[in-house]
């Protein structure tokens, strides 16, 4: 491709070669008529990379490049940094390998960036309707983001390349929250973050066992590191401490359960949690019965998250629950 490239799409991929394939299929269907490229930074073996990436139609059309790193050396931050540094365009769009961009995603994201030069752009992310059946599982991971949110996850973001350069990209010391950190540093450098709600990406809906989702969520303990770096994040927390209302309710419920042994009226602290949890699936007696039956598992998951954050708070000497 000789013409100047208007936008580079950067994807970090690890342990999800099939979802990466599906993402590439969705990128192949983009309606954006300008010149663009996709760069995948991954740690797959040569055989997997060859069949999933190199022989994809986007590669054969000259639109897709890939950079392989040694297994065990990657992280989302490092891989995205490698990706944007290899990008040839002035605009860098990020999405994740467990996402499915709408066909007009890139077109709308770039249109927003052109309307507001030098701005960071965040699109919208919704749970993938094609995977809605999985929502019936008790422990599910997906994303729903209306821009501009507090955390600016890179499942759907666009940055000017020169801004990435000035910020030196993602913080590779961050185990998690590197995308939040980048967006906050961008704002500290005077960049504005604007919404592009029509630039839509659909996020995978994945079910896990209770043990699996607890293990996955352990990474959130590193949010204490993020909070220490960016104390302004506390304005998003409940009472400046609790990551979200769910954590606040489960902590109160746990305190109520323990303290009620000595002082039974404190059992009332469990009521907000149970009330909210029983409505998790919506209204109607069947949905409420199902949600109520799931309370023990949900409580274990949420309390494990709080304990993980507590451990991170000790490690980084700043309280986040």
């Amino acid at each position: 491709m000789d013409e100047p490239i208007e936008v580079s799409v950067v994807v970090a991929s690890h342990a999800r070669h099939l979802r990466l394939r599906w993402l590439l299929n969705a990128l192949e269907e983009q309606t954006f008529t300008g010149s663009w490229e996709a760069i995948v930074v991954h740690d797959y073996d040569a055989s997997t990379a060859e069949r999933v990436i190199e022989r994809h139609p986007l590669s054969e059309a000259g639109r897709l490049r890939h950079i392989a790193i040694e297994p065990g050396t990657g992280s989302p931050a490092r891989q995205r940094n490698i990706g944007w540094r290899a990008a040839r365009a002035e605009l860098v769009a990020f999405t994740d390998d467990d996402c499915r961009p709408d066909p007009r995603w890139l077109e709308r994201l770039v249109a927003s960036a052109r309307e507001h030069p030098s701005e960071v752009v965040q699109g919208a992310t919704r749970p993938d309707p094609l995977e809605a059946g999985v929502q019936a599982a008790p422990h599910v991971r997906t994303m729903r983001i209306e821009p501009v949110n507090a955390y600016r996850q890179t499942c759907n973001m666009l940055y000017p390349r020169d801004l990435l350069g000035r910020l030196e990209g993602f913080d590779e010391r961050a185990i998690t929250g590197e995308d939040v950190d980048l967006s906050l540093r961008a704002q500290q450098h005077g960049a504005r973050i604007g919404p592009a709600p029509e630039a839509l990406v659909f996020h995978a809906i994945e079910s896990h066992t209770l043990a699996g989702i607890v293990r996955q969520n352990l990474k959130w303990r590193h949010l204490a590191y993020l909070t220490k770096r960016h104390p302004e994040l506390r304005s998003e927390f409940r009472f400046g401490i609790f990551w979200d209302s769910e954590h606040m309710r489960i902590t109160a419920a746990a305190v109520g359960l323990v303290a009620s042994r000595r002082f039974p009226p404190l059992l009332v602290l469990t009521v907000p949690y149970v009330r909210h949890a029983s409505r998790r699936r919506g209204h109607g007696w069947r949905k409420r019965a199902l949600a109520t039956a799931e309370i023990p598992g949900q409580a274990v998951r949420q309390f494990a998250e709080v304990l993980g954050l507590a451990a991170g708070s000790v490690e980084h000497r700043t309280l986040v629950l």
Partner: protein
């Protein structure tokens, strides 16, 4: 030596019957294993978002284990899961025929669907496509090239099974592309 084949199918229809008959004419011993799912548990699993049917799997596993087969050939990703476990335990090959084209809307739409399909496509000793549409969909969504083989083509399956078992009928025998 008589080769013993287990054909695993939920809806044993013309195709499986034709394949079984054709293989028997080639001196195979063929059993079609199709235990029926249990309706009420299936409804409950379906309500919880699972890709089904699933409740036939214990019976299928039992039948496979009892039969002393040389090859298990599954015609659904769910049955392939049982066949793969059997194959690992017994050191026997497993073949998976993907009977319908895969699409983005059907590859991860229910719980376990993606995991079962991935295992069937990536872990089986051979993956077959009965039509071009299936073959193309396997390439598009799984980046896997599957040979085209009509399920009713007994001699084609004969060559495949013998190749997997390491017993070619003639030196010039080729695995169908």
């Amino acid at each position: 030596m008589t080769i013993r084949i287990a054909l695993l199918g939920q809806r044993p229809g013309d195709e499986l019957d034709a394949l079984a008959s054709g293989l028997e004419r080639l001196d195979y011993r063929v059993d079609i294993l199709s235990p029926r799912p249990l309706p009420l548990p299936e409804r409950l699993l379906g309500a919880r978002g699972f890709a089904g049917p699933l409740t036939q799997l214990p019976s299928l596993g039992y039948a496979l284990g009892k039969g002393d087969y040389d090859v298990a050939h599954a015609f659904s990703a769910v049955d392939a899961a049982v066949a793969l476990r059997w194959g690992q335990r017994r050191g026997r090959p497993v073949v998976f025929t993907c009977t319908e084209p895969i699409g983005r809307d059907s590859v991860a739409d229910r719980r376990l669907r993606l995991r079962l399909l991935t295992a069937a496509v990536e872990d089986s000793n051979a993956v077959l496509a009965p039509t071009d549409a299936v073959r193309e969909s396997l390439w598009r969504w799984f980046a896997v090239h599957a040979p085209l083989l009509d399920p009713k083509n007994a001699s084609g399956h004969d060559q495949l099974y013998r190749r997997l078992l390491g017993t070619a009928t003639k030196p010039s025998d080729r695995l169908l592309p």
